[in-house]
Amino acid sequence: MTASQKQDAQGKQAKLASAASAEVMIQLTKVNKWYSDFHVLKDIDLTVHKGERIVVCGPSGSGKSTLIRCINHLEEHQEGTIVVDGITLDKNLKNIDHIRTEVGMVFQSFNLFPHLTILENLTLGPIWTRKTPKAEAQATAMKYLERVKIPEQADKFPGQLSGGQQQRVAIARSLCMNPKIMLFDEPTSALDPEMIKEVLDVMVELADTGMTMIVVTHEMGFAKTIADRVIFMDEGDIVEENEPNEFFNNPQHKRTQLFLSQIL
């Protein structure tokens, strides 16, 4: 069995397991969003179970980033309902703050806090929102820094790190909040080719721990390795949704075929 086949097998097992427990983590029903007159999300329905890994792809402007930014309410949707971890997103600010502590997010531009050291970046959330004692928060932070393989950078400032290192710190920062769901918004798009791999490696490791993940990315190799489902979006619609093998080898929709032929 080759490594990729083995990964596939693992992925399928995980999918079966999640289907069996079938605890719904994220439920989007008829979600619509407009940027003034521009209709970005059109009647989006999506269900994500606990432990599922979903990759979202599509051309730019298709609404994929907006979709995952709606899940932690960085963007406000106008119609439909979004339920995350049993809590409905609405105007209630308490709910939003709570959901944001349960949903980690990694951005294309890292968004580390440049005026704080790496360690302070990691401990800020736990100390201020979870009221974790400082020593404990620091211990957790070091644990995650070791997991992303840069414990020696703890006392540096973000500006002194390479892009790949910064992105790994960003992942560790989210993990320090002990989230139930991780969202990735094109995490490798701003990186040099050499650094993409180190970030993807960390993400694959994270997937192996059973984290619920939604990843917007153009890294199709990564999608094949870890995804339980691949979602293809175009002009605000979910055009096609399938498990990765079928999606890449046997795309059904014409738009999907065109997209795949262009990027593969």
């Binding site: 932690n72 960085l74 531009s109 201020w128 929102t129 400032f157 500006g159 002194q160 320090c176």
Partner: protein, 442 residues
Amino acid sequence: MGIVNATKTPARSAPLSEGSVLGWLRINLFSSVANTILTVVALYIIFLLVRGIWVWGIQEAVWSAESRRECFKISKEGACWAGVINWLDSIFYGRYPREEIWRINVGGLLLVLWMAPLWIPRVKGKVIIGLTTVFLYPFLAGYFFSGGEKGIFMQVMVSAAIVCLVAITIHAALGFFANSSLLQFLLRITGADKSSEKNQRNVLLGLLAAAFIGVFVWQMSWQFESVTWTKWGGLFLTFVISGIGIAFALPGGIILALGRRSKLPVIKVLSTTFIELFRSVPLITVLFMATTMFPLFMPDGFAINKLVQVIIAVCLFNACYMAEVVRAGLQAIPKGQEEGAYTIGLGYWGTMGLIIMPQALKVMIPNIVGSFIGILKDTTLVSIIGLFDILGMLRAISEDVFWRGLHHEPLLFGAALFFILCFAMSKYSRHLEAKLSTDHKD
């Protein structure tokens, strides 16, 4: 065909122009005959100017005399610094009673004592020290400066300020010499450091109350002679007005700027209107409005003194200017910072206070200090509405019987004084910028 560079190019020393004074001189001042001539001519002109100033200001100047007439008798060509020297007390303190001037000096020293811990790296709790400087010190200083009968409110505030000052001083000393803090020290002394958190809090509150009551009883036993605000003047008055203006401008500006960026329409419209209203009117107009128009709108018998009106006007005016500086700084911070903060669960105030403001304030240091310098200089406008601040006192010298017509020397002295103050502030802002920079720190 491939090219392989097998030898490593050795590093050579930089050409003469880099880093050496002689090299720089040669390239920039004496590179050709024409340039050399220009340099020499320019140097001669500079020499003539400087010599004029030297002869007038120092060589021929009169340093001690009783009147301007006497100055002329001694030297016709030189400056009459004697007038400025005779008036020094008035330039600094206005018409404040001479035997009470120590109160102003002590008040100033207390401020230094209060704020000194902010510059000692090992002292903790700097935010609290900074806040008490803004909210408690003014009451203590206010009483030192104006004196008189203390009302019950003033008694409470003065006592609180004294307790706070003593606490800060001990805290700073402990931090500096023992790397400890006042809290730890008190808990250890009372033996409460082993007991529960609630117990510790009770002990601390008890000590605080005891200290407060002690000081309160003590301060009832003395009071200062009253000095009305009309006797305040000179550099002292300039410092009072601009100091309060500076202390208020930044917090006021931050609140207004956040209000202007708020998503709540009422707050947004109110802040914007307020800011634009004050920004579209010259300060002198605001001052005239505050001192002449404002009392007309007030009910009969309602009178606040002119100085308070002026201070309020200066505060509001500068808060509005500062609001725009802060807003510019906020806009310089990428949106991603806010989003990053939201995703780790920090709410609006946490995001603003921990992530956005620290970065924005750092970006804005040059502009903020620029505004502070502006406030200090603009304060001289109050001399137009009849307050004898430093500019008022400097001009009053020329109307003195003994020094009639002495204009140049006092104004030059004032200019030098302002230059020193403003230049020091600007230098310090550069230093702060360098110290707070985390961009390429190794």
